[in-house]
Structure formats: C-alpha cells, structure tokens
Point group: C2
Chain length 406, copies 2
C-alpha cells in the first residue's frame, strides 16, 4: 500500500499553480504573491524628523535661536537651517537643508523675543550630539529596487502595508482555489435536521468547508448525495467544475461505495486508492484533465469525521498550497517530545490528534484521549496531529515524534 509520503508526492505532481490575476491590495489578504515586488521609491522618500522639535546646527546649542519657519508633515520646507536660527519641525516632516540635528521639544524652552518673534532655547547640552540625531535619512530602510516581498509569500498585514507604502495598490496574486465539498451517504441528514434511527448529521460539510476557508480557498458546499448512481453522477458533475472536488464517504469496500466507479465514469483518472495510514486508509485521489488543459483534483476522503479531517490536512492542504502558489507546499513538520508514554494499536502509521506546545526547553506534544475515526469531539482538545510511524507499539515519554499543526 502507498505510504503517506508517496501519496503526497503523487498529489503534488498533479497540482499546478492556478492562474495569476491582478487584484486590489485591499482584496488580497491571505493570498500568495505571484510576483516579486520591488520598491518604486526610497523609504523614507526624504530625510525626515523622528520627533517633534527644532532643526538646528550643533554649534548653536547654547544660543537663544529665532524660529524662522515651521514645517509640518506633508509640507515642503521653504527655509534652510542657517547658523544661528532654528526651524520648528513635526514628526515625519521633511528636513530643511542645513539641519544637523533635531532637538525634541521636551528639551527646549520657548520664548518671545523683544522683536515679538518666537525664539527657542535648548535646555540640554547638544555639543556632543552626532549629526543626524533624531533624523532618519532618505532610503535608510529601503532603496528603489529593493525587494519588498518575495514571490510566493502569503500577504499578511505587514506585507500589505509595506507594498502599499513602497509599491502601489495592485498586486499579481494566484487566484483563490474553488473547492467543492460533497458528502455522500444514505445515513446523512442536513445539520439543521434531527437524525432518525440509523441516521447521523452531515457534519463533514461544515468542517471541510471551514478547513478550505482556513487554507485560503473558497468552499462550495454541495450538500449530501445519496448512495445512488444517478444522484452521485449529477452531483459529481457539478463538483468537477471547481478547481478541487473533495468528497467524503463511499470509498470503502461496501456494496454502496460507488464513489470510485462514478468518478471513473465521469472521466476522472485514478491516481491512487488506499494509503497506509490511520485514520484514512480508503482515501481515493484522481484528476480530471479538461480540454482547455485546466484540471480538477478529486479527493475521495473516508466518511468518518476524523478520517476526513486528517486526510484533508495530509493530502488536500498541500495541494491547495501548490495551487495557490505557496511554497513549500508540503506540510511543515515540527519535532516534539511526548509528555507521556503512548501506545498505538493496529498495523498502520497513525496520526493521533494531539496538543502541541512550544516550551523554552523544546516543543512538547500530548496525544488527546481519542476513541477512533468517528470521535471528532476528541479533536476539540487538539491543535495538531502527531505521527506514530509503527502500529502496535509503545512509545516512551520523551520520545521525539513528528507533529503537523492544524
């Protein structure tokens, strides 16, 4: 049976970055840049004051100086700082020519001279101040042409701010991935209904849609398809218009597990069926190649909720990263020490819902009590999955295990 690593590689081989599109920066949060953005100008764009105060020459520090001009942020200085004068200046305002230092207003005293002109007296000794004190020079942090944000970076608040300041209001990004979500199974009822005997609610749709949303994709919920060929056929056809179709249920060995054959009938090329993993062994993956050379990646996830959730994080999430241009697309694996002994049962590598914490002494992880793949409530206490590579084994406290954060 395929290993998880081989299965992830098989998925990523089929996943290609989606189209690039121009977007307003205000509409690009959490998308990935499809270009490397460079500065269109220096930052700061001019020498400027870091404080509210007075622009002077150092040698004039002990004099009472006439205030010959005021320059506020947004203005252009119309007066130079000559010997024996001061220019009042506000934080962020452009520096007048001739300025050596800016003395903060807190270190000055203002007077009115005999000529009724405002004057300033500096109340501290500035004779040993270095030229440039309380001044930031043009280009001090960024020069024209410097890289502001690298291609493939996800746009967080600081990237949006830095691009807005230095480059402009439009960026090239990979468009968000549309992910259709289709739950299958005669036992499923919508979550607003009370289940009858033998029935359960379709909790996978809301969970998988939330996982898509968190991954930066656009979920397209398609409801429940009964285990019946005609209904599956039409719902699958609808789902195949998305970039990714995620199904849950119908991929096991049962007589009503019609998903693989219906996908094949719809023209989806099977890449693999079954992976050596717990939970999630029956997972199915294939690709629809369209005439326009675009494609739909199709994941048939096992229907038990924790199987669906874990398989989404293991296999669908990396695919979404690749589609949206985020590299590396592979899951970020952290090594953490078990806080307590742990026993796994069964013959497959197991991803156990766990709670990870980063301590000064290292990352630690605690598997949460978990009954099995139908026990979604257990994952409420978890923030990661911990890999126990061998089944039927006992892991001592302190053992290092691989962890993937959710």
């Amino acid at each position: 049976m395929l290993s998880v690593a081989d299965a992830v590689n098989a998925v990523l081989r089929e996943a290609r970055p989606l189209d690039v599109e121009s977007r307003l920066l205000t509409d690009a949060q959490d998308l990935a840049l499809a270009e490397t953005v460079r500065a269109d100008w220096d930052s700061p764009p001019f020498d400027k004051s870091l404080v509210d105060g007075f622009a002077v020459r150092i040698a004039d520090g002990s004099l009472s100086l006439p205030i010959v001009a005021i320059v506020s942020a947004g203005e252009v200085p119309n007066h130079s700082v000559e010997a024996g004068v001061a220019v009042q200046i506000m934080t962020g305002a452009p520096l007048p020519n001739g300025t050596e230092v800016v003395v903060p207003i807190e270190l000055t005293r203002e007077q009115i001279g005999d000529d009724r002109q405002r004057r300033v007296e500096i109340t501290t000794d500035i004779s040993r101040w270095k030229p440039g004190t309380n001044i930031v020079r043009r280009g001090a942090s960024t020069r024209v042409g410097d890289v502001v944000v690298e291609v493939g970076t996800v746009l967080r608040p600081q990237e949006l701010g830095a691009i807005a300041e230095l480059c402009g209001s439009v960026v090239q990004v990979r468009r968000p991935t549309r992910v259709a979500v289709l739950a299958t199974g005669d036992e499923l009822v919508p979550i607003e209904q009370t289940p009858g005997p033998g029935q359960i609610r379709n909790s996978n749709e809301i969970m998988l849609c939330a996982q898509v949303h968190r991954a930066g994709g656009e979920p397209v919920p398609l409801g429940v398809a009964r285990d019946e060929r005609a209904e599956l056929h039409s719902r699958i056809a609808a789902g195949l218009s998305a970039d990714v179709l995620v199904l849950s249920g119908g991929v096991s060995m049962g007589e009503k597990d019609l998903v693989p054959s219906e996908l094949t009938a719809a023209g989806v090329r099977k890449v693999f069926h079954k992976v050596n993993v717990k939970p999630g062994k029956p997972i199915w993956f294939g690709v629809l190649d369209r005439a326009d050379s675009s494609r739909c990646l199709v994941f048939g996830l096992p229907g038990n909720p924790v199987s669906s959730m874990v398989c989404f994080e293991l296999f669908v999430r990396p695919a979404l990263r690749r589609l949206m241009g985020i590299e590396p697309a592979e899951s970020h694996v952290i090594s953490a020490q078990l806080t307590q002994a742990h026993t796994t049962k069964g013959d497959r590598p197991t991803y156990h819902p766990s709670r990870m914490e980063c301590l000064p002494t290292g990352a630690v992880v605690t598997p949460v009590p978990w009954v099995g793949s139908s026990d979604l409530r257990a994952t409420v206490a978890a923030n990661c999955m911990a890999l126990f590579p061998i089944g039927d084994s006992m892991y001592a406290a302190g053992t290092g295990v691989d962890v993937v954060e959710w």
Copy 2:
C-alpha cells in the same frame, strides 16, 4: 510613564464582552462561543460497524453461513444475528441484535449455496477474537450531556464539525467587533495615488484593517483625516459609532497633533497617554461611554507604521479578545532563546520585529535587521516581536527573551 503591563491592564479593565447573538453554525467560523455546548445525544448514536463485512457470532467462525440480510448505513437492521447466520453490514451501519463481531469483507469468501442463497465463509480463525471486534458501541466517544465545546472557545473546523454532529446548527456567540480605522495626517495620500513632495501613502489603513480582520473583527476603513479640527471632528464622530476606534497619527507633541484634544472634545474619557515602550511611546487610550451603557474603546496609535502595528498587537488585540469573549485576553507570551547577540539602544523596553522558530531543543528567536519605527519592510521577514526589557543594553546569544507571535 506607564508600563506596557499596566497599560494592557488599564485597557482590559475598560473592555467588556460584546452582546451574545444566535448564529447559524455555518456563519460562525472564528467567532467565540458564548455558551458551553453539551451533546444532545450519544456518539455514535447506535452500535455500529467500523468496517464493510459480515456481522456474526464468534462460535460460527468455521461454518459456511447463509447471508440472511444486508444492512447499509442509514438503514435500521430488520434481522438479528442468530446462531448459524450472517448479516452483511456496511461501514457506519447500525449493528443487528445478536452480533458479536464484524468480520471484514477482505477476510471472507462469498459462495452461492445449493438453495441459490448467498453464503459467506470466513477465511481466518476468529475463535479468539474478542466480542466487539470491529464494532464501536453507542456512546463510545460521547454521551448525552458531555461537554462538546467550552464557552470562550474560538470555533475552528473541528469545533464546527463536532457541534454540527452532536448539538445542532445554531450557536450562541459573541458578535464580531466592529473596528473603525482612521489615519490622520496632512502628509498622507490614498494608496492608489503617487505621493508628491513631502507626502507618503496611507499604508496604515490597509495594514490595520488586515490586523483587525486577522483578529476576527470587522474593519471599517474611514480613510484619511487631515490635521484640521473640523475634519477630525466629523471623522471621529463617525468612528465613535463602532465598538472600537483605532486612529493612527496625531498623538505626539507636535502643534498639529490634535487627536487627543479632539477626542476629549468628542466626549472620550482619557485613560492614558504615553507608555514606556519602543516603538509606540505616544499611544493614547480612552473610552466613550454611551447613554445606552455601551461604549467605544478609542486607541490613538502613533503614525509610524511599525509603531501602529506593534501597538495594535500590544494593546488593541487583547481588547478585541476580551470584546469577543476569548479568554485569556492577554497576549500569549513564549520564552525563546536568542540565536545571536543583540544590542538595543534607547531608554525604553523595546519590542523588536523578529523571527521565531520552534525547534526540538526549544523556541529560538532572531531579531530582524530593523532601522526603526518607519521601517515596515523589515517586518516582512518577521513573525513575532521580541521584548528587550532594558534599553541601551547588550543581550548575549542564548539569552531567553519573551516573544509574542503575530
């Protein structure tokens, strides 16, 4: 001057959780529960099969058994498992009475008997299997009344799924916080414009709005107010209708720093002005108490972009957590070791943009090269801020410092 800790406490003393509202679960992702949710029924709601296979009695393992019924998921079994018969069963289907174990279909062989009835032969020795093998019992993971999700929990995919399965489709949550964002300054132009001499773009609005969004709030961008009383007055009045008003700029010592006086004139009660922190010293905080006993928290952040960003994370973010019912509201502080020596200058505790990583040996942090509070580009390389509590000091590699993730 107020310490950061005292300032955060002062903010949190004024911040009260917002109203509770009923929401469709499908519209509640990333909001915080305002109720503790308990299970309305057992999970699983009935004894069910974990595999596709045959429900039998252990003693019958060596016989060829007639298949007297088939039960699929979503059905109710209409036949018991008596001695000497098998019931075919699908994954997730309710267990027929009398079942002792379910034998996976892979470990069986099907035959057609002389009477043309389907029969099954078990190809493995099940005589030492325990009763309950491949069966999950009703209530195994959750019983009626068990806590599913605690009050104050932020709704992630797994919480949404677990509540959908066990409780229903409507939850009580704290409503999202509306946060008005108003940049002030004559030097600012909108981000789609090319700045003239002495001007810069209003990059704070998009950055602060993105920070609000990431914190689960609803940003209300109000554009730029010039440093002029009439304009500030009307924009502030508009912003005060939100739950939180975040201003940037206009809180320093300059002649055009009109924000504090205009806020006071608008009825905002000052709580503090200035905090002993770098960047961000001039921060102003106050509260508007409305006649209906609701309030607006007002933050005047310094205008330099990194000051705005850091002050948002230090002071506004905890307030948003408290308003949205997320506890603890205080920032989560991680202790990490410096990967390299680091020197701070100046007389204030400094939050330096840094890159944190969680290694098996412990959390480590590297301050990024950073020119100062106007150098937003530096924060693109950062994922946290590291606190250097004493100014003008040298910290050796390996020193433990407090880190807050962004």
